[in-house]
């Protein structure tokens, strides 16, 4: 095999590991920021690593059936697969770049797969809190998918492409970023992003004080560790996707970290200062303003 193949194989290995490390570190930073806002000192930034290692080193993990076994596995499969099809860096031989025509549409389906797997897994536990959490999560998804798809459709019509790599190629130079070229699509997508990240006011799915962490309530030990790993990787994947589409992608890792971190702060800072919506309020929100912005984006492009 030639060297480019080896580089590609190496890329398949280091991309999920980097996503995991960055995602977990971001989680730790978020906990510190939350603590400082609440006038506390907060845990060390490495806290989430110790949490995950502790969960992996639990000696027992009770399960209630085969599907509960597969739920977290589906989730982590969906996270890693989504990550494999999102170009991490622009024109890099090492970092994965599996972009093809139609990968935006593929990702729209792939990003839902993990949640559906978790829904099946949580459904088998028989815990009523899990059932409520799953119902809320899927209802919320119906809410935020509408503006998200509208925003992506607007962009796909505007640039006549369904490939992320081609969208990244369009955005050469600061003024050509899609955030400036199609601002209404960006507004719709970023509002949908708030719901996707499950921070307040859209944290109806996991609401620990209300439904005892919802779908995760019967998952302990290694199952919970798998779910947290998958969540960290998926967070990074979503951030990179938004950076690629709207912020012109990144040429090197430092730029990528800066851009994804700034993007991540939008849902985090919104979440810290907000209480929780009820489920129907959250869905109504997504079907009102973000959807209107998405339709405006499409109308501007078509007319």
């Amino acid at each position: 095999m030639d060297s480019s193949t080896w580089l590609k194989i190496l890329g398949y290995i280091i991309t999920p590991i980097t996503a995991f490390v960055v995602g977990v570190t971001y989680g730790g930073i978020v906990r510190v920021i939350t603590a400082r806002v609440q006038n506390r000192f907060g845990p060390p930034i490495t806290q989430n690593f110790w949490d995950i290692i502790k969960l992996y080193s639990k000696k027992t993990a009770v399960h209630h059936g085969l599907m509960q076994h597969w739920g977290p596995v589906f989730a982590i499969t969906a996270s890693v697969t989504s990550l494999f099809f999102i170009p991490v860096l622009k024109d890099s031989p090492l970092w994965l770049n599996n972009s093809f025509n139609g990968d935006i549409i593929f990702l729209l389906y792939m990003m839902v797969f993990g949640s559906l797997g978790m829904a099946l897994g949580a459904g088998q536990t028989g815990n009523p809190n899990s059932a409520i959490g799953v119902a809320r999560g899927l209802a919320l998804m119906v809410g935020y998918e509408v503006p998200f798809v509208l925003a992506l459709v607007a962009i796909m019509i505007q640039f006549k492409t369904t490939s992320i790599a081609e969208l990244m190629a369009v955005q050469d130079g600061f003024s050509n970023w899609l955030i400036f070229q199609s601002p209404f699509a960006f507004i719709a997508a970023i509002l949908a992003f708030l719901g996707m990240m499950h921070y307040a006011p859209f944290d109806v799915t996991f609401a620990p004080a209300e439904i005892a962490s919802g779908p995760a309530s019967e998952f302990g030990g290694k199952y919970l560790a798998l779910m947290q790993t998958s969540g960290s990787i998926f967070t990074f994947a979503k951030l990179v996707l938004f950076t690629d589409i709207f912020l012109g992608g990144a040429g090197d890792l430092v730029t990528l970290i800066v851009k994804t971190f700034l993007l991540y702060m939008i849902p985090v800072l919104t979440g810290i200062v907000n209480p929780r919506y009820r489920t129907e309020q959250a869905i109504t929100f997504f079907w009102k303003w973000p959807t209107v912005f998405g339709i405006i984006a499409i109308l501007i492009v078509v007319l």
Binding site: Q47, W50, I53, S57, T60, G220, L224
Partner: protein, 183 residues
């Protein structure tokens, strides 16, 4: 098939595991006693237990530490046993306040238990009526020391002496209709 571990590498893994367990304690506060009022100030901005990796857990399945805050009546003891058995290994119990040690001010009550260790294995006691948040945090740090030394073996003790614990529990709980857990 028996997997044999190299002794040195096993030691390194164990050190990492103990460090992680020590620095990540998810607490399930069983707050039916008076001591529950001391838990919110311990967790919130004044005393901020999250500095030490101590965090509330939503359900027994996710928790590491069961915090028994004060007296337990016979009725609540039954719920505590069910909760304790649903937790995943390794798990720890902190007895909080004098009531868990000798009954405290309920020493002559007909309806409360006097010594918690007879029914579930306790790793650390915090005495006082009530212990202030500083005392609670020092109790947690004591538990961290016990975990670092590898002496927090409550779950193993419970499994090995299950008959003894069951006999004690059934002596005091008369309507015993609990499911058998495969924890």
């Amino acid at each position: 098939m028996e997997v044999s571990y190299d002794k040195e590498s096993r030691k390194i893994v164990q050190a990492i595991e103990r460090f992680a367990r020590k620095h990540s304690l998810w607490v399930l506060a069983y707050g039916t006693g008076c001591g529950a009022i001391e838990v919110p100030p311990t967790m919130t901005s004044r005393y901020d237990a999250e500095r030490f990796g101590i965090r509330g857990a939503a359900t027994p399945r996710q928790a590491d530490v069961l915090l028994i805050t004060g007296y337990l009546s016979v009725k609540t003891l039954k719920r505590v046993i069910r909760t304790y058995e649903q937790m995943q290994d390794p798990k720890y119990v902190i007895g909080f306040g004098s009531c868990t040690i000798n009954g405290g001010m309920y020493w002559d009550s007909y309806n409360t238990i006097k010594l918690l260790d007879m029914y579930i294995p306790v790793d650390v006691y915090i005495n006082g009526c009530m212990p202030r948040p500083e005392a609670v945090i020092s109790g947690f740090i004591e538990l961290q020391k016990v975990i670092a030394e590898g002496k927090a073996e409550g779950a193993r003790k419970y499994k090995e002496n299950l008959d003894w614990y069951r006999a004690n529990q059934q002596k005091i709980i008369h309507n015993w209709n609990m499911p058998d857990y495969n924890w």
